[in-house]
């Protein structure tokens, strides 16, 4: 398919713009654009066709089942798209005076209250733009808190699980802390003995996903929390898997002090091909003074922005956060009400059903009931038939499914991480099981079907090594290289994703 730039013709354009009879203003010569940017030049019909054709080469939840583990690819209610386009929301300027933004501030305040209730904690900031920024913000809060109580120099280490998303260690580095990893025990919990050996007066805190990226609830969470609190450390909850436990178990009750919530996962902000997201953080009372500014607060019947927080870490994003995301998530939660618990119950039921039906055909590294997702391994298929988790993933495409997350978490070889979410009907789950079982049979009988897959998508397997080596990261117009002259190979990186 052609790039949009390859369809350009000088003189064509889609835009019509107002022309006013006003004198032209010259840009000072030394600042004036010498050559125009080579933006696409198309009239509107072909512009629309181009993006429509691109969309047909993409797969979303609206297209079909998308069990991408740890990403919570649930249905996105369409009413939320209508709501976010209300002029009172979409055309509201962030510098509007508070008396002209009462509806927006009230919505944000209400969402904060809801997230505090779901997390079982005291105060909330909606400002972080995504889960990973929520993580970083949480670590900044830890630093600010310990500096405030005179332990800033002393506490220089953050502990993460070896099953953690890659964002956790990356956030630790970006926040200036040292990283210490703790092992996973035979049941998929944090290894408490390893933990006891590593937690000390230098420990600022723990970052943990619970349920973990293995889809397992940590059975020793109370003991884990006690170990950290006894050492004067804090606990950070990575909310990536909150969809499993809404109304069932609250992070604050588990002992966590800081929580980020991925609004694009649990609370259904559409993922948009990679974003946007939202990563609000919710904290225990003693951490509230350090939250980002401005805070959205209620004074009687009025809502306002409070900039006067002398102990605040500052700002982590512009203005007050990604408001459109808040509109969608607020509407999503209001449609459930207290029955949010049912959302999590069905997510867990769906996952356990898939697990029960797939466990004989694939290896199950931790034999427990799962939460909202589970991790299988294709290691036996690899050993016996020479097909990998990657091959299984690619073959699923030919059956019309988006593959699960693969090669993550790192502690499971040939991992297939499957998260169906609550919005799938039993028929879809059954059909997916049929495909997975058929693929397991194919692996034994005709493995080439897996090695050659996919054959039904717009492209075959792509050469990722060539992409990284050549680093063609923009269209080069007349000088654009023709990579097709060079033989392609299905060289793909194994590590596919981390959150």
């Amino acid at each position: 398919m052609k790039l949009i730039y390859e369809q350009s013709k000088p003189g064509r354009r889609a835009s019509t713009l107002p022309q006013y009879d006003l004198p032209a203003v010259e840009v000072p010569t030394e600042l004036r654009r010498a050559a125009p940017p080579r933006l696409p030049e198309l009239a509107e019909p072909e512009l629309v066709r181009h993006f429509t054709e691109l969309s047909t080469r993409n797969f979303g939840i609206d297209t079909g089942f998308y069990p991408l583990g740890s990403c919570t690819m649930k249905h996105n209610p369409r009413v939320n798209e209508r709501l976010v386009m209300l002029p009172g929301f979409k055309d509201l300027h962030p510098c509007q005076e508070e008396d002209g933004a009462q509806g927006a501030l009230e919505l944000m305040w209400r969402l904060q209250e809801i997230l505090q209730e779901v997390a079982g904690l005291h105060a909330c900031s909606l400002q972080p733009a995504a889960g990973s920024q929520g993580e970083l913000t949480g670590l900044m809060l830890m630093r600010a808190y310990f500096e405030d109580i005179g332990e800033g120099e002393q506490r220089d280490t953050i502990i993460t699980a070896d099953t953690a998303h890659g964002t956790n260690p990356a956030s630790v580095t970006m926040s200036g802390y040292k990283l210490e990893k703790v092992a996973t025990d035979a049941r998929g919990n944090l290894d408490v003995d390893d933990l006891r050996a590593k937690v000390n007066e230098r420990t600022a805190g723990l970052m943990l996903t619970n349920p973990s990226t293995l889809g397992l609830f940590d059975e020793h969470i109370e003991e884990v929390a006690a170990i950290f609190h006894d050492a004067g450390s804090l606990l950070y909850y990575d909310g990536a898997n909150l969809n499993a436990v809404c109304g069932i178990s609250r992070p604050g009750d588990m002992g966590f002090d800081i929580v980020h919530i991925n609004l694009h996962k649990t609370f259904s902000q559409p993922h948009g091909g990679g974003g946007p997201g939202g990563g609000p953080i919710v904290v225990r009372e003693k951490l509230e003074p350090f939250l980002p500014v401005p805070a959205v607060v209620r004074d009687g019947d009025e809502f306002r922005l409070d900039h006067d927080r002398p102990k605040s870490i500052g700002k982590v994003r512009g203005f007050t956060g990604p408001f459109g995301v808040f509109v969608r998530s607020y509407a999503y939660i209001r449609a459930y009400g207290p029955a949010l618990r049912e959302m999590s119950e069905v997510a867990v039921l769906n996952a356990n059903y898939l697990l029960a039906r797939l466990r004989d055909a694939y290896d199950l590294p931790y034999d427990r009931l799962c939460m909202h997702e589970f991790v299988l391994s294709a290691r036996a298929l690899k050993r016996e038939h020479g097909v990998s988790a990657l091959d299984v993933a690619k073959r699923l495409m030919d059956y019309g499914y988006h593959p699960p997350t693969i090669y993550f978490p790192l502690v499971v070889p040939e991992a297939l991480m499957i998260e169906p979410t609550e919005t799938e009907p039993k028929e879809r789950l059954d059909a997916f099981v049929d495909a997975m079982l058929a693929i397991a049979r194919e692996a034994a009988e005709s493995p080439e079907l897996l090695h050659d897959a996919p054959t039904t998508r717009p492209v075959r397997r792509l050469d990722e090594v060539k992409a990284a080596k050549r680093a063609v990261v923009k269209y080069g117009f007349e000088e654009h290289p023709d990579l097709s002259g060079e033989a392609g190979e299905a060289r793909q990186l194994e590590a596919q994703k981390g959150a």
Binding site: A14, L92, T173, L349, G498
Partner: protein
Amino acid sequence: MGQLSLTDADREEMLAAIGVASVEELFRDIPAGVRFRGELDLEPALSEPELVRHLEELAAKNVDTTRELSFLGAGIYDHYVPAVVDAVLQRGEFLTAYTPYQPEMSQGVLQAIFEYQTAICELTGMDVSNASGYDGTTVAADACFVAKHATGRSKIVLAETLAPQVRQVVKTYAVGFGLEVVEVPHSGGTTDPERLAAAASGAAAVIFQQPNVFGILEDAPALAAAANDAGAMAIAHVDPVSLGVLEAPGNYGCAMAIGEGQSAGNYQSYAGPHYGFLAAKAEYTRRLPGRIIGETTDLNGERGYVLTLQTREQHIRREKATSNITTNQTLLALAGLVHLSWLGPQGLREVGETCMSLGAYAKERLGLQPAFPGTATFKEFAVRVGRPARDVIRDARAHGVHPGYAIGRGYEGMDDVLLIAVTEKRTPADIDRLAQVLAEARAR
């Protein structure tokens, strides 16, 4: 609940297949001490019509730019968003997909973001763009992280004419990054290249804004030269809509260009979600944060696109990654691509020219004392209104006109200064009305 499909019979069959008696039993691994008993204290569920009504009521409590003639800017602007943007963004295949880890399923978004990267490189004169950052503030912090590691230095110089909240975010991140932040005060509304050069000695990077926070055109080539002479990376924070008429940062010595993308393709939306863009010269490619899409071929030699240079990223490199970013702002960046494609090079230039013409008309028509005489501006300008700007705003709003931003919030001695933004959506008649309302408000 319209989001769930399981019938009672489905549940029974599924529980039987799992081998448990109840849904409750599925949660048996959760220790009793941390189980939540009772019901979440949330308001009752709303049906879809009730939900729409509730949010319409909230929306009606806001005074948006369709209800008030607005000249607000200060980083977020009321530019026209073409209808094709809405149409493309509501395609479920784009809207409801996620990060394209599986390229065979995701050629649509991969190619679109490759095209976006191309557009950003064309606008900025850079060689490589990432697939987006969160917004125009966080990309500045990202750029500092790149500069620290590229230069081995830890001082960052910020022009005071870089928007206050961008500087605030850089300072928040700087603590963990181990960076020292130095700010260079403005001189008459612009940054003095000599003062910048003095501060840039030993710095990793210098960040300035063009047009700057007051809407004024800085002598950007001289600022970039000041940074380069000191061996610091020159980083320009730019407005994409200005780059049809203003020179690209890559053509006057900048190592990186960053900015807030909202002006190109995103609604104001009370500040988000929007996208930040980050582009650099080729030598920094492997240090950039975030997703980057690259071209390659498939088994049959057909062209295709993949996430590339992933060894920079957190899911591979973990604690050694160039950033922790995962979820970015792809959908908003796609909106940017569609908007820029709709405009084309001519349309982009016309928007810039129209903003400048309307701005000149507004300055003349308002007849107010410029806050910084003798400066050239793009789509925003600062004037003294002779009273606290906040009072003038209040009085003007009583007449249905929001006259601009009280820039004194971020700068001392400017309490009587109003920052007025004029986009192509404002008309000469709108400006006449602003002049009339401001004259009345000032007379009070």
